[in-house]
C-alpha cells in the first residue's frame, strides 16, 4: 500500500456569501488534517469563512472528448434565452 498521503481538493467560501470555490489541493492523512492544512495554506489572509475538502479520487470529471455530446445540444436551443422572445414595449419590463 502506498505510503503517500492522499490528495484532497480544497473548496473555500469567501467572505461575501458566495459559493464554495475550488482553490487548490493538498496532501493530508485524513479529512480533519486536510481542513487544518487548508486553513494554514489557503486562508492565511482572510480568504475564507468556510472550508470543504474532498478526496481527489472521489471526484468524477467529464472528459474533454465528450465536449460535443455534452454541450452541443444547448447550442440549438436558443429559445432558452429570454432575448429569443420579442415582447412589446407597451407591456413594460418583463
Amino acid at each position: 500500500m502506498s505510503k503517500e498521503w492522499p490528495l484532497w481538493e480544497v473548496f473555500i467560501r469567501g467572505q461575501h456569501g458566495l459559493s464554495h470555490r475550488h482553490v487548490g489541493s493538498l496532501h493530508a492523512p485524513d479529512a480533519e488534517m486536510a481542513i487544518k492544512n487548508a486553513r494554514d495554506v489557503y486562508t492565511r489572509r482572510n480568504e475564507g469563512v468556510s472550508i470543504w475538502v474532498v478526496e481527489a479520487q472521489h471526484i468524477a470529471a467529464s472528459s474533454p472528448e465528450e465536449k460535443g455530446p455534452l454541450y452541443e445540444p444547448s447550442n440549438s436551443k436558443v429559445y432558452r434565452h429570454p432575448t429569443f422572445f420579442d415582447i412589446p414595449e407597451e407591456v413594460g419590463h418583463m
Binding site: K3, L26, V41, R44
Partner: protein, 325 residues
C-alpha cells in the same frame, strides 16, 4: 509513471493533434489537465514546475536560518510569515505538477537523488541579517518579475498557481527592502553590512533568470508552447531597470561598475555575470549545495515516522467509520 514519460517517444504523435494543440496555444486558450498534450510539453512542464516547487521549498532554508536570530520580535514574526508563505508556494506548485501525472513524493525523491534541480540562488549562504533583507528584496524581487510573466503561461494549473503566488510575493519583496532601508539609513556599520549584502547577492540574483536565450537549451520550444512567455534577457533587463533606482535611493553604491543608463536603449546597461560560476553552482559546486540537499533529505527522512503514523491513524479512523455504518 514519470519514468515512463521520460522514455516515451514523441515521434509517433499524431501530426493533426499536434497542429490542433498549437492552434489552441496560439489562440491563448489554457491547456487543462485532461486535455490532449504532446508528451514533450508534459515533460517540460513537469521539469519546470517541479523545479520551481523545489526552489520554493529549498528557498526556505537560507531564510529559516535566521528566524531564531532575527533582531526584533516583529522582524521574527514577519520572517516566519514569509517563510511560511514559501512552503505554501511549494505546495501550490507540487499540486500543479501532480495534475500532469507525477506524484509529489516522486518529485521529492528525484530532488533528493540529485535528478532534479532547484534555483541556484539558494546555494549561496545567508551570512548575516542584512542578507535576509537583501534576499527578500533582490531574490524575491527577481522571482516576482519571472512569476508575473508566468501568470500568462499556457498550462492552466501552472498559471493559476502563479496568480496565487504573485498575490503573496509583494509582501516578501517589501519586507526585505524595508529591512535593508533601516540598515542603509542606520549606523555606518549597518550601512556597510547592507552594502556588502547587495554586493554579494547582485550577480547571483541576476543569474536567476538563466543564461542568455541564445545559449538556453529549452527556450525556443517553450516560447512556442507559451510555457515561457518572455525571454530570459528581457526579464533580466526589467529587473535591472526596476532595481537600480531602489539601490540609489538607499544611498548605496551600485554593485556593478558596468551599470549605466543607456539613453538610446531606454534601459540600464549592466555587466554580464560570470556564467562559469552559474554552471558550477548548477553542477553542485556552489557554497551550500551539499548542505541544502542534506537538510532536505534529513527533514524528509526524520519526518517519515510522523507521516506514516498519521496515515495509519487516518486509515484506522476511516475503517472504524465504515464498520460503524
Amino acid at each position: 509513471m514519470y519514468a515512463q514519460m521520460i522514455t516515451a517517444e514523441a515521434s509517433d504523435e499524431d501530426p493533426k493533434l499536434l497542429e490542433e494543440f498549437q492552434a489552441r496555444i496560439d489562440r491563448d486558450e489554457k491547456i487543462e489537465p485532461k486535455d490532449w498534450m504532446p508528451m514533450a510539453y508534459r515533460k517540460t512542464l513537469i521539469r519546470q514546475i517541479g523545479q520551481h516547487a523545489h526552489s520554493e521549498v529549498v528557498g526556505q532554508l537560507p531564510e529559516g536560518n535566521w528566524i531564531t536570530r532575527a533582531p526584533t520580535l516583529e522582524r521574527k514574526a514577519i520572517l516566519l510569515a514569509k517563510v511560511q508563505d514559501e512552503a505554501g508556494h511549494g505546495l501550490y506548485l507540487y499540486s500543479a505538477a501532480e495534475t500532469l501525472g507525477v506524484s509529489r513524493d516522486e518529485l521529492v525523491e528525484l530532488l533528493h537523488e540529485g535528478k532534479m534541480k532547484y534555483s541556484s540562488i539558494f546555494n549561496y549562504p545567508t551570512l548575516n541579517w542584512a542578507d535576509i533583507g537583501a534576499v527578500g528584496w533582490l531574490v524575491d524581487g527577481a522571482a516576482i518579475v519571472n512569476q508575473v510573466a508566468l501568470q500568462r503561461t499556457s498550462y492552466g494549473p501552472y498559471s493559476r498557481a502563479m496568480i496565487r503566488i504573485c498575490k503573496e510575493e509583494s509582501f516578501h519583496a517589501r519586507q526585505g527592502y524595508h529591512a535593508i532601508m533601516q540598515m542603509a539609513f542606520g549606523t555606518p556599520a549597518q550601512k556597510a553590512m547592507a552594502q556588502d549584502a547587495v554586493n554579494r547577492l547582485w550577480f547571483p540574483a541576476i543569474m536567476m533568470f538563466g543564461p542568455s536565450d541564445s545559449e538556453s537549451v529549452h527556450s525556443e520550444q517553450s516560447m512556442t508552447w507559451k510555457i515561457k512567455v518572455r525571454s530570459n534577457d528581457d526579464l533580466r533587463q526589467q529587473f535591472v531597470d526596476q532595481t537600480v533606482p531602489q539601490i540609489e535611493y538607499l544611498g548605496l553604491d551600485l554593485p556593478d561598475p558596468g551599470i549605466k543608463w543607456n539613453e538610446e536603449r531606454g534601459h540600464y546597461d549592466y555587466s554580464d555575470p560570470d556564467w562559469s560560476e552559474f554552471f558550477n553552482v548548477i553542477k553542485g559546486k556552489g557554497p551550500c549545495n551539499v548542505d541544502r540537499l542534506n537538510d532536505r533529505t534529513n527533514a524528509w527522512e526524520d519526518g517519515a515516522w510522523v507521516r506514516d503514523g498519521l496515515l495509519a491513524h487516518g486509515r484506522k479512523k476511516a475503517a472504524a467509520r465504515t464498520a460503524a455504518e
